[in-house]
Structures are given as C-alpha cells and as structure tokens.
Amino acid sequence: MTALRERLQKVNPLWWQLGLLVLAILFPLPLGDYHRSVLWRTGLYIILGLSLNIIVGYAGLFQLGHAAFYALGAYTTALLNIHFGVPILLTLPVAILVGAVFGYLITRPILHLRGDYLCIVTIAFGEVVRLALVNNIFGITGGANGLSGIERPVLFGLVLRQPIYHYYLVLFFLVFTIFAVRRLENSRLGRAWMYIREDEVAAEAMGIDTVRVKLLAFIIGSGWAALAGSLYAAKITVVSPDQAKFLESVIMFCIVVLGGTGSIPGVFVGTLGMVTLPELSRALKDWRDAWLGLAMVTMMIARPEGLWPSRRIRMEIRAAKEEASVAPAAGN
C-alpha cells in the first residue's frame, strides 16, 4: 500500500486530475435520466459545499444561513428571465453579483461577532430571506408558490433541456470552481483566512486586515452560492422559498463538516454522504433521514475532523486530542 502510494505521488498530478475529469464526462453516458439528474444534483451541492467551505472551512466563520444566498441567486435568475426575458446564462453574472452584494450588506455589520453569536445571526438572516420570499416581498417573489415559467438556457442555439446537458453545465462550473478554490487556498488571501481561523489576534498583529479578509470570504462564498442557485433555476424552471429552508443550510453545513472542514475532496465525500446516498436510497423512505442523524452523531464521536480532512486540520485536531489526554495526568 505504501509502495503504491509512493509511486502514485511521483506521477504528475495533472494526469490523475485529467483522468478524473474524463471519468466525470463519461460516467453519466450509460446511465438513465434519473441517475443523470442525481449526478447533476451532486455536482450542484459540491459547488455549494465548496462555496461554504470558503467561509466555514478556510476562514473558520460560522455560516448557517447559506441557503439564503442559494435562493437569492435562483430568484435573481427567475426574475430577470421572467420579467425581462434575459437569457439564463446571461443572468449568471448578475446572480453572482446580487449574492455577493447581499453577502457584503449582511455580514458587514456583524463581522465583529464570534463563533456562536455569528452563527445565530446567520440563521436569522436565512429565515428572514425565506419569510420575505414566502410573504411575496414587493409583490415580485410569488409567495409560497414561488416563481415558475423560467426558460431553458440556450447555448449556441442548443436548448439545454435534457438532464445530461445540465449535468455538463454544472460540471463545467464545478471544474472552474475547484480550480479557483485551489488557487484561492494557496494564495495570500487563503493563507490570511487560515491564519484568522487559527488565531485572529495574532493574524491582526501580523498586519492582516481581518475585517477586509473576513468580508472577502463572505462575499466570495455568497456569490458562489448564488451561482449554484442560478444553475438550479435553469434546470428545475421553478424557484420556491423551500430553497432557503433552514434544513438546506444545515445540509450544506454538514457537507463541509462531514467531509472534512477546509478540504476539497472532503466536500465531495460530504456531498456523497449527505445528498447522493440519501437520494439513491429512496426505497428506505423515512429511514433516509434517520441515517443522516446517525451519520452525524457517529462522525462527531469517531472522526471529528471529517472523512477526508485537510492535512492541516487533521493535525490540529489530533494534537488537541493528545494534549487533552495528556493534560489531566500532568495536572495530578
């Protein structure tokens, strides 16, 4: 096993990345439309997970209202398309902008909050957005029924109707997201986020503008979630306040935590566990939800760092555990 691993590490990572991409392109071809739709949904939630990972994983800020931005993106696309006839794909940048602007407006006043306090405010914001949508704010959101009649996206004259096209559309943005997130992770900004996550005071002392850097995490993460919302609206053609449900935010949060905070492969694993597996085990009906609860509890006890954690977080949690087990002995 170790020999194999060593040999694998010598291979240029570009090769297996390319291999994975080819696999992702070929994988849905022998499948039926249902399974293609499941893959589409998996891809969408990976994008959502990666966007939340910027906030929760990298910057270490709690965000339990992420679904609100997902819904904002979807509603932006829906409104622009229904009322102004803007083609779906052109609404994507606007949706990202709307998500980012709201991300800024909401988090600017609450950035000084820490941990659980921030968490509560984000939950509240998620609920405010959902209730605003349900109550048909400004008479444009269609109330509890949501908005319907969104057109299909058209790409070079091809109407994207079948699930397979939507899968490829999401795959395109997913690859782009992974590329961007990896660049971010190793950038000056990414390092600043992780510094803040580890020790905010020390980060500030080292000359990092913590307010600006934390804001950027929220702005980028929120805008990206809005992009996922647009992709959702493009396939489902209906948007409803259900998208901003608290449960959606919890699922996104769990994707990040279950897979491994701050880890890109972790988000993949988390999405498989939180979204794909429950969908495929439809036959189990109510037991699906029980599985989610059980998985979360087991995970937190047995593997708090997640299924596929980033190396840094794993070391951290392991070290903290050892410290804790050593400390009482020393105290005596």
Partner: protein, 384 residues
C-alpha cells in the same frame, strides 16, 4: 477496517446502488403516483396513496386492465420542486404509462416538463395554478377545477338562488383570493349583475368596521368574501355586532369549523359557503360506493376531497385504457381530449376536457351554516 477505507467504501456503496434496480417487467401496466408522503403536505399525500391503491387493488382483483395487472409505483416528492424533478425522472425511467400527481402546483410544474418530454400521460388531481395548462402540453390534464370555476359557481349561486342583483366582492390580496374575486366579478358582470363594491381587506388587521360600513352603504344584496376563514370569522362577527343586514357568502377557504368559532354562532347562522363538496356529500352512486369501500378497508373516512381527486385521476386513466384498449399515452391523451364525454366519475360525471386539459363543468356546491353550527348542503343549488 482501516479508516482510510471509509471514503472508498462510501463510493463503492454508491456505485452498487446506482446500478441496482434496473430491471423491466413488460407484463404489468405501470402507473406512477407522485405525491408528498413526507413534508408539510404529507397528510394529503398519504391519503392520496391510500385512495389510489384501493382502486388499483379493485382493478387487479377483477383481472386487471386489458388482461394485464396494474402496478402502482409510488414516489415521494415531499412537495418540493427539486425532489419532484428527480422522482419524475425515476418514474419515466421505470417505464410508466401515466402519472397521477403532484399535489401542489410548485411540484407539478417541473415534473410536468419531464413527463411532457417523455410523452407520458400526466393527470394532476389537485394543482390549480392556471399556467400549468397554458404551455400547450397535449398529455397534461387536471381532474380538479380551476378557481375560475368557483367564481362562475358563486356568481350563479348569488344570482339564481339568492336572487341578488347588486353584489359586493371582498378579497384579501392573496394570489388565490384575488384571483377568485376577479373571476367572480367577471362572471357576475357577464350575467348582468352589478358589482357595487370591490375591494380588499388587509389580513393583518383585526378591526374591519370601516370597510364593513362602506359595504353596507353600497347596499348589496349579497357579499362574497374570497379570503381565508380567520378573517371571514371576524368579518361575520363585526358585521353582526354592528347590526348590518348583509347576506354573506364565503369562498372555499372559509370551509372550516373555526369560521363559526371566531364569528360566534349567532353571527354565522345563514352564511353560505361555496366549495367542493365533502366526499360524504357527493350524491353519486359511484362516489357513495367508493367512500364506503374506503371506510371498510382503512377504517377511516375519506377526509379530504383531494384524496378522492387522486382516485378520480386513476379512474380516468382506467376508463381511457379500457375504452381505447391501448396503453399508448398518445392514444389515451387523444381520447381524453376528443372523445371522453360523460365519464362516470367518482366526483360526479366528467363532461370532458378543453383543448388545454382543464376539466369542463363544475362540482362546486353551496353549504349553509345551520342553527347547530354545522355546514349542511344547501337544499337549493344553482343550475349546473
């Protein structure tokens, strides 16, 4: 097991479940049922499943359709558009001939696109959003009625039964109530009635005295309120306390015992409610037989009209398959559009469908609140 294998195991399980369940049995006729078995509308969805299953069992006991057994495939959409789109794909992949569902319009819309592309006959028992039938889908039908049918009925009822000439219409600005109010106004004016008052209340208010005095000064022969029962009850109560001589008629959102509790019995007596009939009040042999069979099998009454509508949708599919001796959705849809007239339905005779797939005719009836605080079927109903 090493912890390193956990992700590998997860992926393996995933792959196995991906390829599971891909078999085909050509002998049965597959009918899909897409309803919310979990979530906010679970009560309705579970009842709808029971209602349809009863008919499927009856048909199979009698030898099935065209000599083939009927297989009901039930999928849960939780009333959620995302899940609706997914389970719609599942039903298409399972090879169903026809689908009954979904419950709410938000779930029906994305599913209907998928059924339309797959060329499957799709009948919704309960989604009343107008735009569903405006996309030109040739294989999409409703067995429920649009809100404009209730508007037509209300206008007729006020004209023919109450003998009203001047009417007032009041709504609460919700999409549903405003729609119903506007339909009623249109039909009433077509029938030559004068709409002397047309306005909305704010459902958050609790004091409706100003608007009530305004209505009274317009001196209508009848007032039609299309909003929901909490406000309906307050309107009755305050109108009674002010001693106004108004004849109230309420829409189907007021068909709820709480209306009387809020209004107080003395203020509610003699108020009419236009609504779909309760299953127990359906005066057709098919309906009585079905309701009795349902109670015998499940030990509970058919509590909601939507359960019965789901059974009705299956009934329509069964009738179409028997009459055309075909399971081709194209043939079935063609039959329902052009030839289906006077189908003996569970919710009364089905007159047929218009070119958009909306059901013709109406089954709305008027109930009246009696001295004991019960909703009873008004003895006098307008002409059909």
């Amino acid at each position: 097991m090493s912890r390193k294998f956990a992700p590998v195991l997860l992926v393996a399980i995933l792959l196995i479940s991906l390829f599971a369940g891909c078999k085909k049995e050509p002998e049965t006729i597959k009918i899909g049922l897409e309803v919310p078995l979990t979530g906010d509308y679970a009560y309705e969805g579970q009842g709808m499943e029971k209602a349809v299953r009863l008919l499927v069992e009856q048909v199979n006991e009698q030898g099935g359709l065209l000599g083939r057994q009927v297989e009901l495939i039930v999928e849960d959409d939780a009333g959620d558009p995302t899940q609706a789109a997914l389970v719609a794909q599942r039903l298409v992949d399972a090879g169903v001939v026809a689908v009954i569902g979904a419950y709410n319009s938000t779930a029906t819309e994305p599913a209907s696109e998928i059924y339309n592309e797959a060329g499957i006959l799709h009948i919704t028992p309960s989604s009343t959003a107008t735009r569903l039938t405006q996309k030109g889908f040739q294989r999409f039908f409703r067995v429920c009625f649009l809100d404009d049918r209730q508007g037509l009925f209300a206008a007729k009822f006020m004209k023919e039964v109450l003998g009203a000439q001047n009417i007032a219409i009041l709504h609460d600005n919700s999409t549903y109530a405003q729609g119903l109010a506007e339909h009623t106004k249109r039909y009433a004016e077509e029938m030559g009635l004068n709409v002397v008052f047309f306005d909305a209340i704010n459902p958050d208010d609790t004091d409706f005295t100003p608007i009530l005095t305004n209505i009274a000064s317009a001196a209508p022969d009848a007032v039609y309120f299309t909003g929901y029962h909490p406000q309906g009850g307050l309107l009755l109560k305050q109108s009674g306390e002010l001693g106004l001589d108004l004849q109230w008629v309420m829409g189907n959102a007021c068909n709820n015992p709480e209306l009387i509790q809020i209004a107080g019995l003395e203020n509610a007596v003699g108020t009419y409610v236009t609504t779909e009939p309760l299953p127990k009040d359906l005066d057709y042999p098919e309906a009585k037989e079905y309701v009795a069979a349902f109670e015998a099998k499940y030990g509970e009454p058919v509590a909601s009209v939507w359960w019965l509508m789901a059974a009705e949708a299956f009934n329509v599919i069964r009738y179409a398959i028997e009459q055309t001796e075909s399971t081709d959705p194209a043939v079935l849809a063609e039959f329902l559009h052009n030839e289906a007239k006077d189908i003996p339905g569970l919710t009364g005779p089905i007159l047929g469908w218009d070119e958009k797939g909306d059901r013709l005719g109406t089954i709305h009836v008027a109930y009246v609140i009696d001295e004991n605080g019960n909703f009873i079927l008004n003895p006098e109903q307008p002409s059909p």
